[in-house]
Amino acid sequence: MASTTPTTKRARPLSPHLSIWKWGPHMTVSILHRVTGSGMATVGTLVMVWWLAAISGGAESYATFHHVFGVFAGGALGYLFGIGLTLSFFQHMASGIRHFVMDTGAGYELKRNKTGALATMVFSVAATAVVWIYILGVK
């Protein structure tokens, strides 16, 4: 650091911004990790806490929960939140495991990194489909 220039006036270096990079799946997955995490932390938390409180509140309070998610508008809210949270969970889980791999310093080669990023999205859609086909079709 040159001590001749006043440190308080010097412009601080900025990290390269989103717009200068060519878009790739790793960027989509990075954003999805944050969006799905934030979504589950807020919406998912409220649904989970409501569900648990409804069970502990007795048959009547559970009936209210069941009506909102299972009966109202043909159970549309149940499908919306259920499938949305399932997809969010599997996406967050897959990109979280990818983070574990990258924490070890592995998987940064361009091709492997791209393949890994795409794999998280393929996995989350496939796992969500399996879960909901099982709920709606098999059960």
């Binding site: 650091m1 944050r34 806490v49 409180a53 069970i55």
Partner: protein, 132 residues
């Protein structure tokens, strides 16, 4: 030493030695969440129905109540750490403090309700030996 700020050099205190705490706690809870959430999905999918009696009986079992309570602790701690990073990225100055306080209250209140609900179901279960 060349990389330290003037203030850091004057104070000479070095690191606070807790720099990796947040990162490490987030990884530990992530690993716990992986097992707890997969258990949760399998347990829910294995239920024969989703009416009150079925779900209540399921949650009143220790085999469901204990992992469910652990899930709440691990997942909620994990999302508190995660949302903290989101707040630090987008909120600055006073609004960051307000958002962090709100996040802590949200986490503690929702976790408190969830844990209480689980324990209430588990401790007031009347299945098995009937009360006198």
């Amino acid at each position: 030493m060349a990389y330290r700020t003037e203030l850091g050099r004057v104070r000479g205190l070095g690191s606070a030695k807790e720099g990796a705490h947040h990162w490490w706690q987030q990884r530990l809870t992530a690993a716990a969440n992986l097992f707890l959430m997969l258990w949760f999905f399998i347990a829910i999918l294995r239920l024969p129905a989703y009416d009150y009696d079925t779900v209540h009986t399921w949650l009143s079992s220790s085999w469901a109540a204990i992992p469910m309570a652990l899930l709440i602790l691990s997942v909620f701690y994990h999302f508190r750490l995660g949302l903290q990073v989101v707040i630090e990225d987008y909120q600055h100055n006073e609004s960051r403090v307000v958002a962090m306080v709100a996040l802590n209250f949200f986490t503690v209140v929702t976790a408190g309700i969830a844990i209480f609900a689980i324990l209430k179901v588990a401790f007031t279960a009347t299945t098995g030996v009937p009360h006198a």
